[in-house]
C-alpha cells in the first residue's frame, strides 16, 4: 500500500509564495500558467523528481542515500536541499520556500517501509 504521508496542506504564507504543480520554481517564467494549487504533495514530488536518486520514495538507497531513518539532523537536510551537492544533487533553494523544505523534511522523518 502507498503511504499517504506525502500530502500535506501548505501554510498560507508558503502558498502565497508559490504557484506550483509538484514544485514549479518560484522564479520560473511559465510557458503556461501553473495550476493554482494550495497543496504541496511531497509524495508526488518524490515520484516526479527526487525518486530518481532516492529510490522507492526515499525508502531505499539509489544514486543518492536512503532517506528513511536518516541520522542527519534537520539543519543538514535543509542545507542539502537548498544548496545541493556538486555532481550529485541539484540545488533546490530557488525552487522551494522554507516552509516547503520543512514539509519535505517532515515527509522524510515520517517515512516507513511499505506494507506487504
Amino acid at each position: 500500500m502507498k503511504s499517504n504521508l506525502g500530502t500535506m496542506t501548505l501554510l498560507p504564507a508558503a502558498a502565497l509564495a508559490v504557484s506550483l504543480a509538484c514544485g514549479v520554481p518560484v522564479h520560473a517564467q511559465s510557458a503556461t500558467p501553473a495550476p493554482d494549487q494550495e497543496t504541496f504533495d511531497v509524495g508526488q514530488l518524490f515520484a516526479t523528481t527526487c525518486g530518481w536518486c532516492h529510490s522507492d520514495g526515499g525508502r531505499a538507497a539509489g544514486k543518492g542515500p536512503q532517506l528513511m531513518n536518516t541520522t542527519r539532523d534537520d539543519a543538514y537536510l535543509r542545507s542539502r536541499i537548498k544548496s545541493g551537492k556538486s555532481g550529485a544533487m541539484p540545488a533546490f533553494g530557488e525552487t522551494f520556500s522554507d516552509a516547503q523544505i520543512d514539509q519535505i523534511i517532515t515527509y522524510i522523518r515520517q517515512l516507513k517501509p511499505r506494507e506487504g
Binding site: 502507498k2 518524490f46 530518481w52
Partner: protein
C-alpha cells in the same frame, strides 16, 4: 618549431611533426567526413556511416600485447566523469569534458595546443539533474563546435580556440535544460538536439549556419506537426518531453538528417491499456521515442518511424547510431532503441526487421519484426507493479555506441541485463518548468528474475541479429565500443579495465587498468605514421551513479568527479 599563445595565456610549443601535418591539412567538410579517411576520426560516430570502426591495422591481434600508454591528458573539473568522444583531424585530437571544456592536443604527444573553458551560468547548472557532462564536439569548416548546459552552441577557431560565434538557442533559465550531446556537422550546418525527455518543453532539434552561427531552423519533436499534435490528447503536449540529446547522422544520398528522439513526460503513465484515450498523455505522443528524417536544408520532416508508440517505460530512441550498411543490394540503416530492441530500416526509415540484444525484457512480449507493432505491451495503472519491469530505466543498451566492422561483417554491441521494481503514481500534470524531472513513479533497481545483473558484449549480424559470440561482464559496461581492421574489438568496462578481444572469436588478447570506470568514447587514429587508441575514463552520471549502491566493491571508492583521456600505442 613555431610558437603559439593559448587563450589561457600559456605558451605552447607545437611539434614539427604536427606543423608539417597541419600544413598538409584540408578543411574538414562534408565530403571528407563522408570519405572517412583512415587516419582521422572526424565526427562523433567516426563517419556518417556510424561504424565506430577504424581501418587502421598497425595495432592488430598479433601485436596488441605490446600496447602501452603513450600519453595522458587530465581535463580537470570532471564532475560526473568524462563522457565524450574524442575527434581527430590531421594529427590534432579535439575533445570536451564536463562544463563544455574543450581541448586541442597534439595527437602524437598530448601537448596542449589550445584550451577553451566557457563561462557558464553556474547557478543554473547547480539546479540541473542531467549535468554538467558534455559528450563531444563537432568539426567543420576550420571550426570546433560545442554545446553548453546553459543552452548555447559555440563555434571555435580550430587552430586557436578563439570564439568565432556564440548562439543562444534555448532559454535554459526557464526550461532548466540545455545541450549535453555532441553536435553534427554536415553541408554547412551544425545540428544539435536539446535534452528534453523529463521536462515540459517540446524537445527542439536545431540547425545553425556553421559560418555565422545564425539559426537556420528548429524542429519540435513534441507535436511538431499538425498530425503529431493530434496524438497528444487532453492538451498533454504541454507536459512535453522528447528532444534528441545524442547526435544522429547525415545521409547525403537523400539530403536527410537522421535523428533519434527521447521519451515523453511523465516517463511512466497510469493509463492502463486505454492509453489512446486515458492517462497522463492519451495517444501515441509523436514524435517522441522515434527516429526521424529531416531535410537538412529546411528542417522539414520527410519520414519517421515511432519505435515505441506511447512510450510508457522511458525506453527512448535517442541513441545516436544509424549504422548504414548494404546487404543483398539493399541500403539499410540499423538503429538501437534503449529498450534493447534493434531496428533495421531502409534509408527512408521503412521498417525491415527488429531483433533484440537483451535476454531479460518484459515491457512488451515482442516487437513484430515486419510491422513494428508492440505485441503484449504492459501499460500500467497507478499502483504497485507486480512483476519487475525489465530492462531497468538505464536501458537494455546505453546511449554510447556499438561498432560495426565491415571486415568481419559483425556488429559489436553491449547489452545490459537488469530490471526494476515500480510503483506508478498518478501525478498532477506538469505543464510548466518544475523543480526538475517528471518521472511519474517510485522505483528501485532489481536483478532479473532468477538471476543476477550483468552485461555482455555481443558479436552479431547487424541485420538478422544472429549471434556469433558473447563475452559477459559482472556489471554492465556503459562505454562505447571500437573495432578495427586489426581484427580487434576494444571494450572499456565499468570497473576501469579496457579490454581488447579478437574480433572473430571474442578471445581476450589484452587488457589494462585505467584506474577508474569508463562511460564515454573510444577512437583510433594515426599521427606521424603511428596508430593510437584514445579512450576517455571517468565515472558518474544517471546510470553509473547506481553502481556503488548496487554493486559495492570497486565502485564504493570510485570517484565521480574525475577523469582522464588515455592514449595508447605500441611500445
Amino acid at each position: 618549431m613555431r610558437k603559439q599563445w593559448l587563450n589561457s595565456g600559456l605558451p605552447v610549443l607545437v611539434g614539427a611533426t604536427l606543423a608539417a601535418s597541419a600544413a598538409l591539412a584540408q578543411a574538414v567538410d562534408t565530403a571528407r567526413i563522408e570519405a572517412a579517411g583512415q587516419n582521422d576520426w572526424l565526427t562523433y560516430h567516426g563517419s556518417y556511416k556510424s561504424y565506430h570502426y577504424s581501418p587502421l591495422a598497425q595495432i592488430n591481434a598479433n601485436n596488441v600485447g605490446n600496447l602501452g600508454v603513450a600519453w595522458m591528458h587530465i581535463p580537470g573539473r570532471s564532475t560526473r566523469g568524462l563522457q565524450s568522444m574524442p575527434l581527430v583531424a590531421d594529427g590534432v585530437l579535439y575533445y570536451s569534458g564536463s562544463y563544455s571544456r574543450v581541448f586541442a592536443l597534439n595527437g602524437a604527444t598530448g601537448e596542449v595546443i589550445w584550451s577553451f573553458f566557457p563561462e557558464l551560468d553556474e547557478a543554473l547548472i547547480s539546479r540541473q539533474t542531467h549535468s554538467p557532462y558534455n559528450r563531444g564536439v563537432a568539426l567543420g569548416e576550420g571550426k570546433v563546435f560545442v554545446g553548453t548546459m546553459d543552452g548555447r552552441l559555440i563555434g571555435l577557431d580550430a587552430k586557436t580556440g578563439k570564439v568565432l560565434w556564440d548562439t543562444k538557442l534555448i532559454d535554459s533559465q526557464k526550461l532548466t535544460v540545455g545541450f549535453t550531446g555532441a553536435p553534427l556537422y554536415a553541408k554547412g550546418s551544425v545540428i544539435i538536439g536539446a535534452q528534453g525527455g523529463e521536462w515540459p518543453g517540446r524537445g527542439p532539434i536545431f540547425a545553425v549556419d556553421a559560418a555565422t552561427g545564425k539559426k537556420k531552423w528548429e524542429f519540435l519533436t513534441v507535436a511538431g506537426t499538425d498530425e503529431a499534435m493530434k496524438t497528444w490528447g487532453s492538451d498533454s503536449w504541454r507536459t512535453g518531453g522528447g528532444g534528441g540529446w545524442m547526435p544522429g547522422t547525415y545521409d547525403s544520398e537523400t539530403n536527410t538528417i537522421l535523428w533519434g528522439t527521447a521519451n515523453p513526460a511523465p516517463l511512466y503513465d497510469w493509463s492502463g491499456t486505454d492509453y489512446k484515450t486515458q492517462g497522463a498523455r492519451p495517444g501515441d505522443n509523436l514524435y517522441t521515442s522515434s527516429v526521424i528524417g529531416l531535410d537538412i536544408d529546411s528542417g522539414k520532416l520527410k519520414f519517421y518511424h515511432q519505435e515505441l508508440p506511447h512510450d510508457a517505460w522511458d525506453f527512448d530512441s535517442a541513441v545516436g547510431e544509424f549504422v548504414m550498411l548494404e546487404r543483398d543490394g539493399q541500403k539499410l540503416v540499423v538503429h538501437p532503441n534503449k529498450s534493447g530492441y534493434i531496428f533495421v530500416y531502409d534509408r527512408n526509415l521503412g521498417l525491415k526487421n527488429v531483433w533484440r540484444i537483451t535476454e531479460n525484457s518484459n515491457f512488451v512480449k515482442n516487437i513484430d519484426p515486419k510491422t513494428g507493432e508492440l505485441v503484449g505491451r504492459r501499460d500500467f495503472k497507478a499502483g504497485k507493479v507486480d512483476e519487475p519491469l525489465c530492462p531497468h530505466i538505464s536501458g537494455g543498451v546505453s546511449f554510447n555506441a556499438g561498432s560495426y566492422n565491415p571486415k568481419t561483417g559483425l556488429y559489436y554491441k553491449l547489452g545490459q541485463e537488469w530490471c526494476m521494481t515500480l510503483e506508478v503514481m498518478k501525478t498532477t500534470p506538469v505543464t510548466a518548468p518544475q523543480a526538475q524531472l517528471n518521472i511519474g513513479a517510485d522505483f528501485k533497481i532489481a536483478p532479473p528474475p532468477g538471476g543476477e545483473i550483468y552485461g555482455h558484449l555481443d558479436a552479431r549480424d547487424p541485420v538478422t541479429g544472429a549471434k556469433k559470440w558473447e563475452v559477459r561482464f559482472p556489471e554492465p559496461p556503459l562505454a562505447s565500443v571500437l573495432s578495427t581492421a586489426g581484427n580487434l574489438v576494444f571494450v572499456p568496462d565499468s570497473r576501469g579495465i579496457i579490454h581488447a578481444y579478437d574480433a572473430e572469436s571474442g578471445t581476450e588478447l589484452w587488457n589494462h587498468n585505467n584506474g577508474t570506470g569508463h562511460q564515454g568514447g573510444i577512437v583510433s587514429y594515426s599521427a606521424g605514421g603511428k596508430q593510437y587508441i584514445a579512450v576517455t575514463a571517468g565515472f558518474g552520471g544517471m546510470a553509473s551513479d547506481d553502481y556503488a549502491p548496487t554493486f559495492g566493491g570497486v565502485y564504493k571508492s570510485m570517484p565521480r568527479d574525475d577523469g582522464a583521456l588515455i592514449v595508447y600505442s605500441l611500445k
